[in-house]
Amino acid sequence: MKEIVIISGKGGTGKTSITAAFAMLGREAVVVADCDVDAADMHLLMQPDWSSSEDFYSGVIASIDQEKCLKCGKCQSICRFNAIPMINEEYVVNKLDCEGCGYCARICPADAIKMIEQNVGKFYISNTKADNKLVHARLKSGADNSGKLVAKVKKEAKLIAEKEHKEIIIVDGSPGIGCPVVSSLSGASYVVLVTEPSVSGLHDLERVYQLVKKFGIPAGCIINKADINQDVTDRIMIFLSDNSIDHLGNLPYDEDFTKAMTEGKTIVEDQESHLKNLITEMWKKIKEIN
């Protein structure tokens, strides 16, 4: 089983649109995991049926029982996150600041602090219009622990792939280099980097590739909007060859992507768009990688 993770470092480079196109081309041979749980958009193009859903609990937050509280202030004094202010003569937990370390609960002499498990979101397993399964999630706004939800989404996708003997898992990763991305990358067999020829695109590509390198995962790159800036496209090409990153192909700046998205379609469903052939070629290359 191969696990192909698509990431970009920078947001807005076309990562999800391209991933959805691959999911469409892969049909029933693939399982798809939308691991960009902060801004999960894959479902907008894949028409999932939301056939099953489950709550996801992760992490804890302190809660103080005012009846038991002796107002000794110990909890406030040890909290490194300044999460226990005194409001109206009562010590209360500021949920946004609490990291869930549980130190306060351990040292409270009155045993007045409980750590409460947090429902941070939901995850779904759906059948899509491409006759494959999509595992996706929705993180509650402002929730912590997105890395753990990413791990959960990936694990579910893997279970389905094993059970149904699917060859390939396609994973839509998240932007950045932090915990959700690290979670997306763990266990990947191949990474597809989607970039654009802007100074930001190249800068973020270089940073995220350093992370990929730490994991030792082979990688390929798609340059989207390649004709926006030929000079930067050339620099990206040099970066790719210097680092032995496969060049999977270039896509032109094209509003067909937006047009297809607005119709709730992947770009490969637009029969008139010349992007269809380019992306089909890329998918062929990716499928053949061992």
């Binding site: 920078k10 807005g12 801004a39 990291e99 370390c101 040292i107 706004s141 100074v199």
Partner: protein
């Protein structure tokens, strides 16, 4: 006054807006622009200036001293993040997982887990001649953005007066790093694209801001593409739309080169002025 520039979806124009707005406002006001997208900071690519301060930012991590340790395993028990584990005769620390809560260190009966600073990133402070620019970047392999964002906000607080206009370039998304940037902001500008992805992620961002009880408004970028969902939604929910930045290939090209837009594209400058006027007009109690 602290103004955060955020978005649910990435790549909708946060950095374009932040850098152009900073430069525009700095013509008449004291401005500091802070790039708090510490995972992928980009504003600095658009800014030249004189470096006036640079330092490493550390987070505190326990370090095991074998001598004196009775291997009681309390550290392992108290850590909610599995960052410290007793393995046979060894105590192992996993710095990436550590949240620096100090519980293991301070509860250790033998005092053999002192907290030691470990570098997680770098802060730079530049003077462009017009405005100040502060950016922090997380070291590759560090997973937690929040502690670095928090330290950068402390730096801003300690080095600039209250009359300064703080523009905070936020990370994308709606989870903890975004909360860290926006929770103390006086006002949040949410920038989006009028596409289904932009619309979907805008709703998540709006819900997050409502949960935080923040005053916010929307800027539409690449106006003209996609559909009218974003406009209809804002109208229906009484959300101010501050400006509609045009969809223009010239803007994409200028951005790709790391150049400011408003000096070259008058249609963009016109819309930027609307945002600047709105920001300067915010009620005094917010300021």
């Amino acid at each position: 006054m602290k103004i955060a520039i955020a978005s649910g979806k990435g790549g909708t124009g946060k950095t374009t807006l932040a850098t152009n707005l900073a430069s525009y406002l700095a013509q008449k006001h004291r401005v500091v622009l802070a790039d708090l997208d510490v995972e992928e900071p980009n504003s600095g690519l658009f800014i030249n200036g004189k470096l006036i301060h640079q330092d490493n930012k550390d987070k505190m991590i326990p370090e095991w001293e074998r001598k004196g340790c009775t291997l009681c395993g309390l550290c392992n028990q108290v850590c909610n993040f599995h960052a410290i584990i007793k393995l046979g005769e060894q105590i192992m620390v996993f710095p990436q997982l550590c949240h620096s809560c100090y519980a293991c260190s301070e509860l250790c009966p033998q005092n053999v887990l002192p907290m030691i600073p470990q570098k997680m990133g770098e802060l730079k402070h530049l003077d462009t001649g017009h405005f100040h620019f502060v950016e922090s970047r997380l070291d590759i392999g560090q997973e937690q953005a929040v502690p670095l964002i928090a330290q950068t906000l402390d730096y801003l607080e300690n080095n600039f007066s209250e009359e300064t206009i703080f523009l905070l370039d936020s990370p994308p998304g709606t989870s903890c790093p975004v909360i860290e940037v926006t929770k103390d902001a006086d006002f949040v500008i949410l920038i989006t694209e009028p596409t289904p992805f932009g619309f979907h992620d805008l709703i998540l961002a709006v819900e997050t801001m409502q949960e935080l009880n923040k005053d916010f408004a929307v800027v539409i970028n690449r106006h003209g593409i996609g559909n009218s969902e974003v406009l209809d939604y804002c109208e229906h929910n009484d959300i101010d739309i501050l400006a509609k930045l045009p969809n223009d290939r010239r803007i994409a090209t200028l951005y790709s080169r790391g150049e400011l837009v408003y000096k070259e594209v008058p249609e963009f400058a016109e819309e930027l002025k609307k945002i600047a006027d709105y920001v300067l007009d915010l009620p005094k109690e917010i300021k």
